[in-house]
Symmetry: C2
Subunit: 337 residues, 2 copies
Amino acid sequence: MTAKKVILTGDRPTGPLHLGHYVGSLRNRVKLQHDYTQFVIIADVQALTDNFANPEKVRESVTEVTLDYLACGIDPAISTIFIQSHVPELTELTTYYMNLVSVARVERNPTVKDEIQQRGFQRDIPLGFFCYPVSQVADISAFRAHLVPVGEDQLPMIELTNDIVGRFNRTYNCNVLIECEAMVSTIGRLPGTDGGAKMGKSLGNVINLGESADTLKTKVMSMFTDPNHLRVEDPGTVEGNPVFTYLDAFAPDTAAVQEMKDHYRRGGLGDVKVKRYLLDVLETMLAPIRAKRAAYAADRGEVMNVLRQGTARARAVAAETLDAVRKAMRLDYFSKE
Amino acid sequence: MTAKKVILTGDRPTGPLHLGHYVGSLRNRVKLQHDYTQFVIIADVQALTDNFANPEKVRESVTEVTLDYLACGIDPAISTIFIQSHVPELTELTTYYMNLVSVARVERNPTVKDEIQQRGFQRDIPLGFFCYPVSQVADISAFRAHLVPVGEDQLPMIELTNDIVGRFNRTYNCNVLIECEAMVSTIGRLPGTDGGAKMGKSLGNVINLGESADTLKTKVMSMFTDPNHLRVEDPGTVEGNPVFTYLDAFAPDTAAVQEMKDHYRRGGLGDVKVKRYLLDVLETMLAPIRAKRAAYAADRGEVMNVLRQGTARARAVAAETLDAVRKAMRLDYFSKE
């Protein structure tokens, strides 16, 4: 029997998870957990780098995200769900890795560049936010992850990880750290219900996993469609029409979706009818998730237990890596040897 | 009875300590330890930020520096001598403080600017080195230090500390962290034996505290003096003459030193004679330090015990501060309240 490969994945707790997360990662994690040793990090320390003035939001989101995980079927018996801030070994690793990367190298990282622009930080960027890529390297390497599921845009993070891993092993003449590989998602990003490429709670264009049946209905029925499809009999455009993108992502009956697309293109199929179909698909998918989420939400103690146990398990693994790192760096002053 | 005020002081372990350290801080610490609660940090994590490729030097220097402390009279029963890398709470505090300071603010810090220039880092400065001022803020605030002995050039560090302390307390609406005050040294820097303003092992111009009697003699007798004082009968210059600077710093008989200065200025007093006097002064001062150092060096177990106990004591205090910091940041997810 060969050991399973290790996957590190996770989320920043800045709000409940939505359909975008489900398509992009959650659904995949539920499958992957059977074939891999999966660590799921709730990255609250990272979330605080740009939400430091709003710790209450981060704190509440830790529970929300955990509820979403459990409701979707991430099984804490086989996946290790843990809280970043409660594995302090990660901050130690980050500290030592920061010596192995230059300020210029982090500045060049396109992900950081983009995010700095998106957040409008400019030169006043918090130092903690600037340094978060190194903290991600600590997350990945601490758990000796072989694979990291990422989008195309996060490939520089994998590159930085392997740079630091290689530099560490060479500098300290050891093979303590292992390189990782990107597991690049082939699935495109789900657009917002308004058709926008960026989804966000503040944009009001997301459907949360725990959405009530009523809100789900309101949100689906008011989704953006083809703005030129004014009358039912007009021919409509399927491409870039979020209702069809959602059907592609979630409807199990692909033949039925294909038929609807053809009909819509020809004309004669109204938006309301397509939306009702999508609502049905989503309600069928979300109803059990919603129910499971509510059950866990009513048993806060159990949720905290999942986090407590997962975090203890994660901490033991990270502590082993840190121990090896400290030995390699000759910081084991008090050891017997 | 009012509680004693807390002092944080210490050194980067990058080699044994020398007379410059003795004049600038060690001598003072031996006095201060009776009136203050003194924490003495051996800042190996900071030393690694620009010695990351030379961990063996840092490791060895931790013991060397401790030997110097004990030999000089820093008493581990009343002063807490501890190793930075073994108080991991400090890296956690650093992580959270990094959110409260901008990249631009750290870049503006004149101490960092100078040191970047001195080390020739330019843009390739290691991120760890760039961030070390924030790690110093963690050191100071973790021990709730009221006073930090510094040179004029380190005042920006105190300012940064109080900036972050204030920002933390305001952001998290608490008074967990306390501001500190600089205890500015009035004593000028001791020059090297070559008269240079910068002392360094690599420059070969330092007299270590543990220097053997033979080496001490060689170093004193070859000290730089007034280059225009060619013949004994010539008038000599006392100002900027390191032999006299050393006498001012170490000779207990100030009247005798004044008399020699007058004689040297008039002419008729040879350099060899002045150097012999200085050698006598230094040998009298260093002989008991050397003996005490050798005794400790022969009992490595006892030295490690001092470090183990001091570090445990320091860790308990830092853990208390970190606990309060985490509570203020609402990171106490698992607490009962």
